[in-house]
């Protein structure tokens, strides 16, 4: 039994059912029933058209369930009005599933969970493990999300930007365990890019590939954070980098710039530098200017201040930093870094220790504490 084939077909079969009018939860139940049937029947009697077989069986299961449930009569009426089930279209149309899972009525975390479940075909247990929550909690979250989107029909094109935001969130979770969410996000974005001709989809895919390429070099064996400038560039995945750069260049050539392409361009410039010293910081600042224009995000301006500090010297970076709200996350960490570059080690050590207090995660907190300790140790000698 080909589990990979089944997993890859599941989203498109689900989409066919939902498009024909089945509500999301019922459609998923029906598809699960059809998969069970496939596992039972296929070994002895393999179908010629696996997807067509699954659609037919799943649709029959859905109708059975709908008819046998008197309380679902309303939905049955809905089904009656739909055109009769025809042959399953040959094109992969899971796209609608992406849009459904990124529906604006869902909270970001629900949208992420639903995408992993419906589009990614992950089990509830796998998603729960990836998010470090109990399986029962995740099951509730997913069924609540399904209820929220049940009844949503695909008569209007969805918003690609929302789908990309959800995939970006999946990537950023990035836990590695049974399920590597960063790898899963890349897989899903790759599928999306094959279906949607949109430069920002390509931009996001390029961005993910370029960041993923540096992954093994970002942490030391003991789990501590290795800053970009100290990473062993020999450990970067050059194949991923080459692919990311190529996808990005094709996207940029279309002259429809968006924030993901701009972020990917910055990542590409880092990836392209043979050493940290040879990084083209001037061009990185220019991309941050574009990014700030596109997003108006204070976090982007904070990153821009770092880049200015590298391109024009730490004083220039500190001047940029002074224009920003000092309550921004990582503001103090950036101030510490720029002060160190400027030679004021006492201030830098104090700021690193302060930044460690409000670090958003463990790796960063330890990293900042070590930075403070390093400077304090140097001053004492």
């Amino acid at each position: 039994m080909d589990e990979v084939l089944l997993r890859s077909l599941t989203p498109s079969v689900l989409t066919v059912l939902v498009r024909r009018g089945a509500d999301f939860a019922a459609a998923e139940d029906a598809v699960q029933d059809a998969l069970v049937e496939a596992v039972r029947v296929w070994p002895a009697d393999p179908p010629r058209d696996a997807k067509g077989w699954l659609v037919t069986v799943a649709w029959r299961k859905f109708l059975d369930a709908t008819r046998s449930d008197a309380a679902r009569r309303r939905r049955e009426d809905l089904v009656d009005e739909e055109p009769a089930p025809g042959p399953a279209p040959a094109v992969d149309d899971t796209l609608q599933l992406y849009f459904l899972c990124a529906h604006p009525s869902l909270t970001p975390s629900s949208a992420v969970a639903l995408t992993l479940r419906a589009v990614g075909g992950l089990t509830t247990r796998q998603i729960a493990q990836a998010y470090l929550v109990p399986e029962a909690t995740m099951a509730q979250r997913i069924s609540r999300a399904k209820r929220t989107v049940s009844g949503v029909r695909f008569d209007q094109p969805g918003d690609v930007a929302t789908v990309l935001r959800v995939l970006y969130l999946v990537f950023n979770e990035g836990y590695s365990g049974d399920v590597d969410l960063a790898a899963e996000a890349i897989r899903l974005t790759r599928q999306l890019a094959a279906q949607v001709d949109h430069p920002e989809v390509a931009g996001l895919l390029a961005l993910m590939l370029l960041h993923h390429a540096r992954r093994t070099a970002r942490t030391a064996p003991d789990g501590s954070l290795v800053p970009l400038s100290e990473q062993d560039r020999g450990r970067w995945d050059t194949e991923s980098i080459a692919e990311g750069v190529e996808i990005l260049q094709t996207a940029l050539a279309r002259d429809r710039l968006g924030e993901f392409q701009a972020q990917a361009a910055i990542a590409a410039l880092h990836a392209d530098a043979p050493t940290a010293e040879e990084t083209d910081w001037v061009q990185i600042v220019e991309w941050y200017d574009e990014l700030a224009r596109l997003t108006d995000s204070p976090v982007v301006r904070l990153n821009r201040a770092v880049a200015v500090g590298e391109a024009d010297g730490p004083r220039a970076g500190l001047a940029e930093l002074a224009k920003l709200d000092d309550s921004l996350p990582r503001h103090t960490a950036v101030a510490a870094y720029l002060n160190e570059r400027d030679g004021d080690l006492t201030t830098a050590a104090r700021l690193y220790a302060e930044a460690a207090q409000t670090a958003p995660n463990l790796a960063e907190r330890d990293h900042l504490t070590r930075q403070a300790a390093r400077l304090n140790a140097r001053r004492c000698r």
Partner: protein
Amino acid sequence: MAKYLLLKHYRGAPAAVNDVPMDQWTPEEISAHVQYMNDFAARLEKTGEFVDGQALAPEGKWVRYDGEGRPPVTDGPFAETKDVIAGWMVIDVDSYERALELAGELSAAPGAGGKPIHEWLELRPFLTASPTITECTFH
């Protein structure tokens, strides 16, 4: 088997014997400290005595039910830990506001006469592994 929660406290307790703030240690001393804790957890995993270990952010807030939809938030009554910690619960929510709301709700658990006890709860964010993209310039 009985479960115990070992709370690492950074403040509020009597001063430790070797009371040097962490940023005054050498980076090697910090690594050794972290390694010791990791090894400790790994050893207890092997003996089957490990349940859960998490790091908490320092910015704890005290939350108490004070009537519908208005949980007051303070930097704390700074009670002794044994006065406060009768148990703990971990929640996973979309926002800080939602966490506050739930803490307020939990604080309204009924006590004497079936009335809310208006218990103070300490709300502390977990620290987790670092994300990947959002901090582009550093990593």
